[in-house]
């Protein structure tokens, strides 16, 4: 029993460390998001978390896909050569799939700009028809 005050102080210290660690976890979870912030809308809103989770190119590409009601599209090297952008593109655009198509999504400055017809663009991303 004579060790009880020491034990209490030890436990209080452990609890404080634990609370501090969870504070750090919360801060770290927020810091890895692209906006480095909490979402500003209801978590159940349809587009919630998009700007916090995905790079601008992918969001622009998804807007283009939706506007043009594509069912399937192809990607240019601009997306294919960057694993991060490529994977984000495939999962975010789903259920629209990447596959064999005349419709290519790529950079506005890519070589498709010379060979194909520009259909739509948003920021640095463009949709081309390459028949």
């Amino acid at each position: 029993m004579k060790n009880k005050p020491v034990l209490d102080i030890f436990l209080i210290a452990l609890i404080l460390i634990g609370i501090f660690e969870y504070f750090k976890i919360g801060r770290s979870l927020v810091s890895v998001t692209l906006s480095k912030n909490f979402i500003h809308v209801s978590p159940f809103q349809k587009d919630a978390g998009t700007i916090d989770s995905l790079p601008n190119e992918v969001i622009s590409a998804k807007h283009i896909i939706d506007r043009n009601q594509l069912k399937v599209y192809a990607l240019t090297d601009f997306f294919l050569n960057d694993t991060y952008i490529y994977q984000r593109m495939i999962e975010f655009s789903y259920p629209v799939r990447v596959g064999q198509s005349n419709h290519y999504i790529g950079s506005v400055n890519g070589d498709l700009a010379r060979r194909c017809t520009l259909i739509d663009r948003e920021n640095r991303v463009a949709l081309y028809d390459c028949k």
Binding site: I25, T33, G49, S53, E91
Partner: protein, 391 residues
């Protein structure tokens, strides 16, 4: 053997119940697609059982605080993390849009590891079905339902709130972001720890009652089945732990462990593995030549030192803590035999997998080691805290 009546039987019914509801939803998805109403009904049942399990606020306040933290951070931030997006929540999105548990078996987007099990993705898709649409925030909040049963098991078996609080702080320090960022590794770790604790608890129980046997089978079956269906590591942990318990935990009737093991493996093979084999989808690590690569790397001292460095860096402190407990005679070999044997076998398997990796070893270690080792660290923490329950 005589039945010990002083056991927290009733309290353990709730985690088993919640686990069985999760497994029930999983089985339903395997048979037919769930619509919005059915998904809503399933999630209300799950939420009601979770609220019932936490009704004793004074006793369960560490778990309640932890889950409130989890709910807040899974609902208040986006989902940017790589595996969460490319694997687990992408599979959930596919289940949601295709109305099928087996959506990923068409082989599309092979980077998402289409052979990986889907119980987490399935429940995230169920939530999206209930809400009516998909977005980049709320599906990952489903992790809180998965975290609840193992925490309830620890709280019940450890009997003391302070130990539960320390366990929760401990898993925070060990698992960090992986608890709430949509990854599965922290879930695998807490489920592995729960199964070890259950096996230690049942071993000390010495029962001979038919009801306790059924109850123990359900306890082991429900947790093992979820663990297997979370991630491939879960299958490895289950097929190490339960057969080990057959030999080491003499207080548990062999039939209990055997039935729980066979039933959980049967469920896994019937619902997931057999359809994966039929779809001809293979695991990226199990490519031909794993053995050859492992043998080749065994000859490279640099590779071995590199792997050992990671082991020391990421689990040295927890193994040291365990050794310290032995040194201070705070725990005995009888208490720890299951944990230590499991630890050696699991570490050995990880060692072979890293030796045989088809990827660049340094890259593979750097991207996965601190997650792969979580079951070891969390289980050591849980077992050490558990041994303090009667002090």
């Amino acid at each position: 053997m005589t039945a010990n009546k002083d056991i927290p039987t009733k309290e353990l019914v709730t985690p088993v119940g919640i686990s069985l509801i999760i497994l029930g939803i999983y089985v339903c998805w395997a048979i037919f697609p769930l619509g919005q109403r059915a998904s809503l009904f399933m999630l209300i049942s799950l939420s009601a059982s979770a609220v019932y399990a936490l009704r004793n606020v004074k006793e369960k306040f560490p778990i309640i605080l932890f889950l409130l933290f989890g709910l807040f951070f899974t609902l208040a931030i986006g989902t940017p993390d790589w595996d969460a997006r490319s694997i687990w929540l992408f599979h959930a999105k596919r289940i949601f849009y295709e109305n099928s548990l087996y959506a990923q078996l068409d082989g599309y987007a092979s980077f998402s590891h289409n052979d990986y099990p889907v119980i987490f993705s399935m429940l995230a898709a169920t939530l999206a079905k209930a809400v009516g649409h998909w977005n980049e925030v709320f599906p990952k909040t489903i992790v809180n339902f998965f975290l609840l049963p193992p925490l309830l098991v620890f709280a019940t078996l450890s009997k003391r709130k302070i130990l539960t609080l320390l366990y929760i702080f401990g898993i925070g320090i060990i698992c960090r972001n992986y608890l709430f960022n949509g990854y599965q590794d922290a879930l695998v770790a807490v489920y592995a720890c729960s199964i070890v604790l259950m096996l230690m608890y049942l071993d000390a129980l010495k029962f001979d009652d038919f009801i306790y046997r059924i109850y123990s089978i359900l306890l082991l079956f429900s947790f093992s089945s979820i663990l297997i269906a979370l991630k491939n590591e879960g299958l490895a942990i289950t097929v190490i732990l339960l057969p080990l318990a057959l030999f080491l935990q003499k207080g548990i009737p062999k039939s209990v462990i055997f039935i729980a093991l066979v039933a959980s493996l049967l469920l896994y093979f019937t619902i997931w593995k057999w359809p994966v084999i039929q779809a001809n989808i293979s695991n990226d690590l199990m490519t031909a030549g794993l053995g050859n690569r492992a043998i080749k790397r065994l000859g490279s001292l640099n590779d071995i030192i590199l792997i050992l460095t990671y082991f020391i860096k990421y689990c040295g402190i927890y193994v040291g803590l365990l050794a310290l407990n032995f040194f201070r005679k705070m725990v005995s070999w009888m208490d720890m035999r299951l944990l230590i044997t499991f630890l050696f076998i699991y570490v050995g398997i990880l060692f072979i997998i890293y030796l045989g990796t088809p990827s660049n070893l340094e890259w593979h270690l750097g991207t996965s080691f601190k997650r792969a080792i979580l079951p070891i660290n969390v289980t050591i923490l849980g077992v050490i805290l558990y041994t303090f329950r009667s002090r």
